[in-house]
């Protein structure tokens, strides 16, 4: 394909791509995000293609593999255009029926649709999960094949780049980003425009721009979904940023744990280069820019700007003191602007629709939308994009559909390992950068983990400290040793060996680590413990004083028992017990050998609900040879 030499050629290609797509209105879009692929979407795609071939419809309809739609819990998701019928949880076996009923006859297939009060919901945007959202960034994911640049061009892709290169001066772009009020989506919430300006004004001819896609927060996958589903939007934002800042080289730093994201990004870069949207003299504007992909080798701390830069230079990812900002002295000691994936993805929208429009979305101090990964104990878990300032209640109950199994919500954890727990009483907090900090948590990159009454807050705090102690790079002592000691205490508490004074000691340790650590990892590491101690102190006390886990979640503080009166001896539990710890003849009540039990809970899961014979019992089991038990069994 020839390179696009000027803006006119770009517009012509966009029009051509749009016309080609308009000529073939019937399309079956299958979500090819990692979530849906894990739910066997590839089988569906094959089956759909086979069914199309069988009915000789190849000239009338095509299967398009798109990026993530967001409702990952119910994948694989299939959308039929032009009617927009949305099918959830589709299996390969459904393919034939979909083709016959929805493509040939044009009727919806009710069975596969989202049901509200037993009535099918006709299109995706009417499903409560999607209705409550404002999908500025994620919307395109459902409409384009991320591996085909023409799909992106057909929806007006690279128009913002053309506009920025030919009708705006770099200073105007920066002014526009400043006016939009866009703040860094990676967690810090630093005003993006100001960061750009600092880098632009920093002395030196060589400058760099970097996309931070080292999404290390456990429980968050917004960046993955954007990079996998719409890599061109991030590239477009990055090129505009490069032009505004005066950089000719960009890096995309992406975790190697995201193979599909790496693959799609590399493909997108190749296509953009081929079209002349990357490389020398982009669209004939005289501006040259190119991008390199660096794969992260798995270290949470590499998400920190100076550590990430060290990793790109080929060193171990350890942060440095930042009395000189990376925007002045970053990669190879040159001024470097680093932004999160989601921040870059917002740039084309700001250029296309204007800073005023962007600033009108969200709240006064936090403009725009934010993508959250709403996961954990929630019915519709997946990716949610809402305007800043939406309340937690709206996100969890209206969009997320509430807690499954009529359980009670206990806490929502936001901000990843550096964030905090928000108890049920704080459900009406509106979610933006400043409100969350006031409530004792933070925005972070957008992880939102819902926990219900079965989750133990002591264990959750221990989980985060365990994670952070493991991920601490070890450069500074407060973080390395402080977290290790915190973990040591928490491990004791969940094992039922907590002591009086532990809580006070933890309070003190938290203060020390927060004040004296080198980088943000250590400074924010005590947050989960602090907020758990503030809101759920009684749970800690129960563990320490009564050696009891109120949620029956801490492995050392409960055991499983089979109720001999309820058990009918169906042997299901016996067959499913990994260590073969369940004994008893068929058709006779079973018993658990507590010594070999690994507490995997398989017996509880497989026991038929009508019997409900297996249950968790607080405290440790008595040994089988205890004199008391011998007396009982006679």
């Amino acid at each position: 394909m020839p390179r696009l030499e000027n803006p006119k050629a770009l517009v012509a290609l966009q029009v051509k791509a749009r016309e080609q797509r308009a000529a073939l209105p019937q399309r079956i879009s299958v979500c090819g995000g990692t979530g849906c692929v894990a739910a066997k979407a590839s089988g569906c795609i094959e089956a759909l293609n086979a069914a199309i071939a069988r009915h000789d419809l190849s000239s009338k309809v095509e299967v398009q593999v798109t990026g993530c739609h967001g409702l990952c819990e119910r994948g694989p998701i299939v959308v039929i255009a032009p009617q927009q019928y949305c099918y959830l949880g589709v299996a390969a076996a459904d393919a034939n029926e979909i083709i016959e009923q929805s493509i040939i006859e044009g009727r919806p297939l009710d069975r596969l649709m989202y049901q509200v009060e037993k009535k099918p919901v006709t299109s995706q945007d009417k499903i409560p999960f999607f209705r409550g959202q404002q999908r500025l960034l994620l919307e395109a994911n459902t409409r384009i094949d991320p591996r085909n640049i023409e799909d992106y061009l057909a929806i007006g892709g690279y128009t913002a780049l053309e506009h920025a290169l030919f009708e705006m001066r770099p200073e105007e772009i920066i002014a526009s980003v400043k006016e939009s009020g866009l703040r860094g989506r990676g967690g810090g919430g630093f005003p993006t425009g100001r960061k750009w300006e600092t880098t632009r004004n920093a002395p030196g001819d060589t400058k760099y721009v970097i996309v931070n896609a080292d999404e290390g927060d456990p429980g968050a996958y917004m960046d993955r979904s954007l990079l996998e589903g719409n890599p061109h939007s991030i590239l477009e934002g990055l090129i505009i940023g490069g032009y505004a800042i005066g950089a000719n080289v960009g890096y995309i730093y992406v975790r190697q744990e995201y193979p599909l994201a790496v693959e799609n990004t590399l493909l997108a870069i190749g296509q953009a280069r081929e079209q002349g949207l990357l490389g020398k003299d982009i669209l004939g504007s005289g501006f040259s820019f190119d991008v390199e992909v660096h794969r992260g080798a798995g270290a949470f701390v590499s998400g920190e700007s100076s550590a990430l830069i060290a990793a790109i230079e080929g060193h171990v990812g350890q942060p440095r003191e930042k009395y000189v900002h990376t925007s002045v002295s970053g990669l190879w000691d040159r001024p470097t602007n680093l932004n999160n994936v989601e921040t870059w993805a917002n740039i084309p929208h700001i250029i296309n629709k204007g800073a005023k429009w962007f600033a009108s979305i969200g709240t006064k101090t936090s403009s725009g939308t934010k993508v959250f990964s709403l996961v954990g104990k929630v019915r519709n878990s997946g990716l949610v994009e809402v305007p800043m300032g939406t309340s937690l209640r709206t996100i969890v109950y209206d969009i997320g559909g509430g807690i499954p199994g009529d359980k009670r919500l206990k806490a929502i954890q936001t901000g990843g390992p550096s964030g905090g727990f928000l108890p049920e009483s704080m459900l009406d907090v509106s979610v933006d950068f400043d409100e969350l900090v006031k409530a004792g948590s933070m925005m972070g990159s957008g992880g939102m983990i819902v926990m219900d009454e079965d989750n133990c807050m002591v264990d959750a705090a221990r989980f985060y400290v365990d994670f952070l102690a493991h991920e601490s790079c070890g450069k500074c002592l407060p973080c390395r040793e402080g977290l290790r000691q915190l973990l040591h205490i928490l491990n004791r508490i969940v094992a039922g060996e907590g002591r009086e004074g532990d809580l006070e000691l933890m309070d003190e340790l938290c203060d020390t680590v927060a004040v004296s650590s080198l980088c943000a990892l250590g400074k924010s590491a005590p947050n989960p413990v602090r907020s758990a101690l503030t809101h759920f102190r009684s749970e800690f006390e129960a563990h320490i004083r009564e050696k009891r886990c109120p949620s029956l979640a801490c492995v050392s503080l409960f055991h499983y028992e089979i109720d001999g009166k309820r058990c009918n001896g169906c042997s299901l539990c016996q067959k499913n017990c990994p260590p073969n710890a369940i004994h008893g003849e068929h058709k006779k009540p079973k018993t658990i050998d507590q010594e070999s039990c690994i507490k995997c809970g398989a017996c509880e899961t497989v026991c038929p609900p009508k019997l409900n014979a297996v249950s968790k019992v607080a405290g440790r089991a008595e040994p089988e040879d205890s004199p008391l038990l011998r007396q009982k069994t006679g």
């Binding site: 429980g219 080798a297 171990v316």
Partner: protein, 369 residues
């Protein structure tokens, strides 16, 4: 500065054969600045002449030149003076041919454009190896001939014995004596077959070893020998071998000129790298927050119990490696298990058993082949 003794043997340290004047003069400036003596030639034919005349310690050869190319000079270098250490210069596009030139005995290669420090480092290492660096081929040739001779004479001896036995039978020799003779012969033949097996095994190990080094060369070339690409290079080795064997790390260290200590610093810092062999099948359990609150800890003990190994361990027949990872980024399917490249959301005991059985079966089939 070279010592008096070596001066007597060679007057010139480096000969640069390159058709680009900028490269020739650039090298001259850089190397003379270090106190090295250098001569240059603008094409292959002049280069051969110059090399034969001055017999330097290091020859820098451009691969692509009109007329006699660098690769031809490289091939004829052992005839001129086997002590000369050849270093190949190559452009961005022809890194693959650089790898080929390594097979022909090049000591090292430089990709254009190269930094002065890189040039000096490589040349100094070359000088250090002068006289002791002999390309593998020339060292092997006499041995190969000797080996062929031994094999031939053994075969002859065996045939002669069999002929003698035949004659003995024709003469009407006693069957028991003949049988004894034949048994002895058979035992000797068995012994030789066993010996051959040992040699073959050693040969295969050596072959794999060399293949690994070639793989490193190809990976390093793909990353243009950039030191900053160290992490990317290690990631590529890791994905090819599933772990980082020490000989490949040493080779990387030599090729990049990065000390082994720094390579190990990087390899031990990042989660993605393993310095011990990994199983053929990677079982990863996600213990990110979303998975943690949805029974990942229970799933972890289940898998541990099924595989008989804890997270971080590999089973004794190198079939499975069980790993705990922080987030696989498919939180909505929690708890998630990844076996090789396939993801499974909340798998049941039955599913897990089936998946693992499939992997074990694959391994057995492989073993039989």
């Amino acid at each position: 500065m070279p010592s008096q003794q070596t001066l007597a043997q060679t007057e010139v340290d480096v000969v640069v054969v390159d058709d680009e004047e900028t490269i020739r003069e650039g090298c001259r400036m850089a190397l003379e600045g270090e106190g090295l003596r250098i001569e240059t030639a603008a094409n292959g034919a002049l280069g051969l002449e110059l090399l034969a005349r001055v017999r330097p310690r290091v020859a820098l050869l451009d691969l692509r030149m009109p007329g006699v190319a660098g690769i031809d000079v490289l091939k004829r270098l052992p005839e001129i003076d086997p002590r000369i250490v050849p270093i190949v210069i190559t452009g961005y596009a022809s890194v693959e041919s650089a790898v080929d030139s390594m097979k022909l005995g090049a000591f090292e290669f430089l990709t254009k454009p190269f930094e002065t420090t890189q040039l000096l480092d490589t040349v100094h290492r070359g000088i250090h190896h002068w006289g002791t660096y002999a390309p593998a081929q020339s060292a092997l040739a006499p041995r190969r001939a000797k080996q062929a001779q031994i094999l031939k004479s053994q075969e002859d001896a065996l045939l002669k014995s069999l002929e003698a036995a035949e004659e003995y039978a024709e003469l009407g020799g006693t069957p028991t004596a003949l049988a004894d003779e034949l048994r002895t012969l058979e035992m000797q033949a068995d012994y030789h077959t066993r010996q051959l097996g040992v040699v073959q095994k050693k040969g295969k190990a050596l072959h794999d070893f060399v293949a690994d080094l070639h793989a490193v060369d190809a990976i390093v070339a793909r990353h243009l020998s950039k030191r900053s690409a160290l992490i990317q290079i290690l990631l590529d080795i890791q994905s090819q071998k599933n772990w980082l064997p020490s000989h490949m790390l040493m080779w990387t260290s030599r090729r990049l000129g990065v000390p082994m200590g720094r390579i190990l610093e990087v390899a031990t810092f990042y989660e993605a790298f393993s310095l011990i062999p990994q199983g053929r099948h990677q079982v990863q359990i996600c213990t990110g927050t979303a998975c943690h609150v949805r029974r990942a800890p229970e799933l972890l003990v289940t898998i541990s119990s099924l595989l008989g190994i804890k997270p971080g361990q590999t089973d004794s027949d190198l079939n499975f490696t069980f790993k705990q990872v922080h987030c696989l980024g498919c939180c909505a399917l929690a708890p998630v298990v990844k076996v090789d490249s396939a993801y499974y959301g909340n798998p049941s005991m039955k599913e897990l058993k089936e998946i693992f059985a499939r992997c074990t079966k694959d391994a057995q089939a492989e073993g039989e082949n």
